[in-house]
Symmetry: C2
Subunit: 281 residues, 2 copies
Amino acid sequence: MTKDPVDNASSTTDARDGTLVIAPLPGMPLIHPGDDLAGIIGDALDRAGLHPHDRDVLVIAQKVVSKAEGRLVALDSVTPSKRARRVAARVDKDPRLVELVLREAAEVVACRPGALIVRHRCGYVLANAGIDHSNVDARAGTTVLLLPCDADASAARLRAALERRYGVTVAVVINDSTGRAWRNGTVGIALGAAGLPALLDMRGWSDLFGRRLEITETGFADEIAAAASLVMGQADEGRPVVLLRGLRWHGESNAAALLRPPADDLFRLGAGAHADVEIDP
Amino acid sequence: MTKDPVDNASSTTDARDGTLVIAPLPGMPLIHPGDDLAGIIGDALDRAGLHPHDRDVLVIAQKVVSKAEGRLVALDSVTPSKRARRVAARVDKDPRLVELVLREAAEVVACRPGALIVRHRCGYVLANAGIDHSNVDARAGTTVLLLPCDADASAARLRAALERRYGVTVAVVINDSTGRAWRNGTVGIALGAAGLPALLDMRGWSDLFGRRLEITETGFADEIAAAASLVMGQADEGRPVVLLRGLRWHGESNAAALLRPPADDLFRLGAGAHADVEIDP
């Protein structure tokens, strides 16, 4: 195998030409609670001959961050509350899963049989509060994986550890695949980010004709997360870490900047429609 | 400049390693109504020494497709209806723009001062029906650009012309930047697609432990559109065409497959909340 294939790929072109190279990190092992994820990623980078450059972005799948942080819960250990059982009957889901979803949630945004969409206490609007039970290495169906407690903090810790190891300035994005309003199919979004502007403010930029742009903010980290999802794959490919080389940016904001405050949101259903599942009655 | 930099970039790595290269097409001229866009893109590819390979994806900005298709409208030529003037007062926008938005729309999804979000008659839910007046080469503020009449058909035509020219099998995605529910910042999405599965059906795929995946559909063309947006830039960079090399897929569906039918959508506000701006009273 060629050493540092991403370096080769990007160095054959003029860096100013704007070409972006997105490479999966091979050889990542299964991650277990308590693992030193940054150390494991660094070792995999070294084995692959990939030395991070200044302004490389490492995109890391939420699942491996959550697993390293011990966010696995055995469903058998969960006793559903009366409210969880009531919501579970309405959405036709396991009451123990619903109990965990409600504990993770600040607000139920919408529900119907088969769907329970909440605002996570970190602010993301996600089905089942992002709780997942695929690619969790336990008995099928009995163990689930919660989101990291604070994905921006996780991204900052991973970034700091990788910068210490390599002596370069990198960015880290933690991504997850989520559904959307109005559109079929999941796409990658950024749950956490460090070292780049998750929300890119373009005020003051001008168009080709010198006029001020109407659209002034880009979901930069979300576009990075979606691009990385293309390379990670969704299933048995086992590519939880992806390296992006070739992006430019100024400034820094974490993924919390991507969360629209509920008061500004046109797409909350009226509280009255969900009064019987409100979390803080 | 090195000849065929994308070819160089991707050939230095084993194609099976899953590395994705995303390159802007340099030297695209300004596009005018009636231009042969596929021919102009082919000429720019040739000048850049980029010869499309089988399974390359060309992502083309909606703006240049719309311009080539003559979708420019001078606002001075528009006479707003009584309904458009009423909605314009409510959303605090130019009544002539609102008239065009309502003509393009099948349904008003949400509105408030500064925001008019509709379901386009092609099915996309977009602010101002996707009508834009940045990067339109006319007197500032007087000319606007509508979306293509049928972006899937536009993508299919562009794909066919490029395949004839190069004798390879390529895919085409037409992208645009849009806002989202719940999240700040715009991201690229696919308005049109040809030659790949815009919605990737993963039913039957299994996770690392052999279990059936819970998430069975990925917004593949939307992730491609977002990745390309990172390279296109949003402002005065003038990179309306981007080439992606390194993706694999099976099957084919156009971008209409990404549109959730209104009846399945949890995030339509009740008709009652917008009765006074319903398009088909």
